[in-house]
Symmetry: C2
Subunit: 217 residues, 2 copies
Amino acid sequence: MNSVKINSRTRKPKRTAYHHGDLRQQLLTVAEQIILERGVDGFTLREAARRAGVSPAAPAHHFKDAKGLLTEVALLGFREFGAELEAADKAGGADPARRLRLQAIAYVNFALKHPARFQLMFRDDKHDDANEEFKSVAAHSYRVLEGAIRAASNVPPDGELTPKSYGLLLAAWSMVHGFSHLALGRGLRGPGQAPFTKDAMLNSLLPLMLEHLPTSK
Amino acid sequence: MNSVKINSRTRKPKRTAYHHGDLRQQLLTVAEQIILERGVDGFTLREAARRAGVSPAAPAHHFKDAKGLLTEVALLGFREFGAELEAADKAGGADPARRLRLQAIAYVNFALKHPARFQLMFRDDKHDDANEEFKSVAAHSYRVLEGAIRAASNVPPDGELTPKSYGLLLAAWSMVHGFSHLALGRGLRGPGQAPFTKDAMLNSLLPLMLEHLPTSK
DNA sequence: CTATAATCTGAACACTGTAAAGATAAAATA
DNA sequence: TATTTTATCTTTACAGTGTTCAGATTATAG
C-alpha cells in the first residue's frame, strides 16, 4: 500500500510525535481561520491550541501571549496589504490621480477580501505595543499612500508635507478607511434594509464614492 | 447633627437594603465608566455588578445578558449623537454645504469627546441584533445626514437618492467616520511619531481635511 | 393581611489566559 | 557515539469570566 510519510502534518491530525514540528506557523494559520469564523473577539488562545492539536500551554513557547500571536497575524496582514497598495500605486503609472484612485480601490478591496484580518490590523488593543517590527511594517503602508499624495501635491520626497497636502492625505485615507469599516459592519443598508453584497459595495458603491475622492493640489 | 437621608444612593455605597432601588440605571452608568477606563473590551459584567454593589447574577434581572446592557448604552449614545447632529444641521441654516460641514464637525467632535461610547456604538458584535429600538435610533442619525445630502443634491424628501447623491453621502460619511476611527486609534502620528492631541486633531487636522469635503451636486 | 411578582443572593458550571514544574526529544558538545 | 544542554510540549493549577438555577427577600397588588 501507499507508504504514508510519518508525521505528515497537512491539516490538524492527532499528532503522535511529542514535538509538533511546525507549531509556530500552524498557530498563525489557525488563528487566522478562527478570527475569520468567529470574529476578532471570538478568538481564544485555547481554541487555537486545540486546532493545532497541542495543549493550552504550548503556544507560550512561541508567542509571549495571545496578544503576541495576534500581533504577528496583523503584521503578516500589513505585509500583504502594503504590497497590494504598492502594486496598485505602480499600476497608476505617472498619473497621480490614477495612483491615488487605484490605491483607494486596493485598500477597500483588501478590507472586503480579508475582513477579519483587516479588522485585526486596525484594532490597536489587540496588538503588542512593544513590537517594533509591527510598527515598521504598518508604517510602510502609510508611506505608500504618502508617496501618491506627494506626487499629487508636488511635494518632494524629502520635504515635509504642506498643510494642504496633509489635508488631502487625511481626506483620502479617512474616506477609504471609513468606507471599509462601514462596509464590514451592519450599518450600510440598501433599499428595504437589505444589506449590500460585497460585490455591490466594491463595484457599485465604491465607484460612486470615489467620484468624490479629492485629487487636487 | 445633620440627619442623613437613609439609603441615599449617590455613588456606590455598601447597600444595606436587599433591593437596590435603581439598579438598572446604575448599571448603565457604571458600564459607561468602565468602557471609558478600560475600553470596550475591558468591560465585564461582573465588574459592573461589583461597582453597583450587587451580586454577579443581579444584572440578569434587568438585561438579558452583557450584550443587552451594552446595546442599551450604545442606544443612549446614539440618542445624544443624533441630537447633536441635528443641532449642527439646524445651525447650518439654509446653506447645504454649511449644514454638511457643521454635521461633519459635530460627528468628529462627538467621537473625540466620548471615545468609548463612540467605539461601542459602531461595534456591531457588541449589540443585540434583535433590539428594534436600537436600530431605529441608529437609523435616525443616518437620516439626519441624509437630510443634508438631499438639500445639497436637490433631492426631495420623498424620492429616492440618486446614485450621484448617494455617492456624495458615502463620501461624506466615510470621511468623518474614518477620521474618527483613525483619531481614536494609535495610527495618526505627527512629526517625530508624537501622537496628536485631541485639540490638534479637532482644530487643526479636521479643518485641513474638511477642505476636501465634497459638497457639489 | 395575604398572595403574587419583582428583585437580589449564593452556588455551580463551563469556559478563559497564563504560570510553574516536569516530561520528552532534538541539538550541541565532548 | 555518549552525554549534556536546550527547545518544545504536557500536566496541573489558579484566578477570572458569563450565565443558569434554586432559594431568600422585599415590594406591590388584591
